[in-house]
Symmetry: C2
């Protein structure tokens, strides 16, 4: 099957989408309307076979996650989704694989309300690159550098689930998972970045980042770029009962602090915003938890406290090329 037919067949499901997509797939570029008084935000993430996902994962899950991890970056800016492009390299034009992949992509596209506006299909080792576009009100993006002294530190959802699920891969291939394990596995396969909540959060919060490399590492970027420090109450970390059920409380905290792959938000806001944030979270059925405070002091210093004493986790945040 030829490239153009592939694109037509599997990646044209957003053709009739919103009135912001003037021209979608099928020309040299897509053409999009950007409303006045809004800025454009954009981010790109690549998922590589065997590095970012297991080779035997359902292609629908690979597709879903490829888009979700990028939408998570839009959420971290408080942005409204505008569209995304997909660049996919495939060893061969496997129509069965593509059909399942495109089904998962369409599910994610609809779940996050972001249309597919363009793409490129090439022959090569399986590699998926998604570039997302969104808009924010002019100068209202949630930036990493915007945390302020005495801000509350919040996170959405529960942390550590996805990182713990990495250990379940072999079991998931050969035997039935327990109910708790099944929940963790789903959290790894299908992240749920709180994109609608985040869009409204932009006017309540100061700084935000999405948690992809682990809370400690990602909060660290906020601290570094905002030239401040932070204190986290380890007992306030949101842990799912399924995670505690599977790995115990201490390991659960470790995964929450340094696991990664959560695709939840970490954000900071004035303490006077607490009620508004809780109400917003309720409106969008998002769990939010206040876990600590922004402090002055050494640039980037992250203090973990449990029962009034310093807490030392075992693992460090995930880094590519760190070996």
């Amino acid at each position: 099957m030829k490239e153009f037919e592939l694109i037509k067949e599997y990646f044209s499901f957003s053709q009739s989408h919103s009135d912001t997509v003037i021209e979608g797939v099928g020309d040299d570029c897509a053409v999009l309307a950007v409303p006045d008084n809004r800025q454009l935000v954009t981010s790109v993430d690549t998922l590589v076979d065997g590095v970012h996902f297991f080779s035997d994962i359902d292609p629908a899950d690979i597709a879903y996650k490829s888009l979700a991890v990028n939408v998570s970056d839009l959420a971290a800016m408080g942005a409204k989704p505008l569209g995304f492009t997909l660049a996919i390299s495939l060893p061969k034009a496997d129509t069965k694989w593509l059909e399942i992949f495109s089904r998962g992509l369409k599910q994610a596209s609809e779940a996050f309300d972001i249309p597919l506006i363009g793409g490129d299909t090439t022959q090569g080792p399986l590699t998926i690159t998604v570039n997302v576009l969104g808009t924010v009100k002019t100068d209202k993006a949630l930036l990493r550098k915007a945390a302020q002294q005495d801000d509350d530190i919040w996170v959405t959802g529960y942390l550590g689930d996805a990182a713990a699920a990495l250990k379940l891969h072999d079991k998931a291939q050969t035997q039935a998972l327990s109910e708790s394990e099944g929940y963790l596995w789903e959290r790894l396969l299908r992240p749920t970045p709180p994109i609608r909540f985040a869009k409204k959060l932009a006017k309540l919060a100061h700084a935000a980042i999405d948690i992809s490399d682990g809370l400690s590492a990602d909060l660290g970027h906020i601290l570094e770029q905002s030239h401040c420090s932070a204190k986290i109450k380890v007992s306030s970390l949101p842990l799912s009962e399924q995670l505690i059920d599977c790995v115990g409380l201490e390991m659960a905290r470790d995964y929450a602090l340094n696991g990664g792959d959560d695709y939840e938000l970490c954000f900071t806001a004035k303490s006077s915003m607490r009620n508004k944030i809780l109400n917003l979270a309720e409106d969008f059925k998002v769990n939010v938890h206040r876990i600590g405070t922004i402090e002055t002091g050494d640039k980037g210093n992250l203090q973990l406290v449990l029962d009034g004493k310093p807490y030392q986790p075992k693992r460090q945040g995930w880094q590519h090329f760190s070996n």
Copy 2:
């Protein structure tokens, strides 16, 4: 070396660029200003090691071409460059390779006046995905579907050079190339999409496409989407003297029609625009040639004529996954 350090070290050269880049590399998303009364255009292209470039090519040339082929898509819309993201998968963090690669990327970024605004570095088989962003005046993009009956068909530059150069790879590695061969080889490595010319062309032309898969195939997309046919005078195809020197006139025409990798523009315009187009080309030192006419008749029918008779080239346009 860790991912964040890699990005900082090699891909932060556009930090202080234009006033349209509000936030560049370093947050969850880049933030860009889009002027009022302009639409956004975007396109993505992937280059895979061993498929789109020879593995032993200088990394600076790989980088240059990765950006150039994407800028070519902006040119085909008549767009002004806004910025680009780079997603690169590398087998290992080879700092020497990255240093040379980033040098070539910076050269292209400056040559085409388009800043690097974000990226992702991952471990995997060498794959380079560039996503370009540009802007056009609202509803003034040059679309494939906009060709009109009796339009002139024009192309920029000379066609077929890059396709012919593919045959020179082995020779280029082991011996000196002739002057003509060296010219062709450079045309393959460093495409020169006429981006500044194209931006001004938007108000003179109807339809446009960039020539990446060969003139016949790419003009074919205009014909298909504009529901028209075309007649091309084969004697009017712009052929470099170096190409004719290397492969002879007949093969040169073949390469020009069906070679691909030119990254020049094919566009259509009213015959009353001829002088304005020639003047614009002179202003921007771009070669333009009028090669045929848009006609009514069978959808997508491309008639090649030489000395008043139908002309039959030997090769067909390049397609991925065509085997």
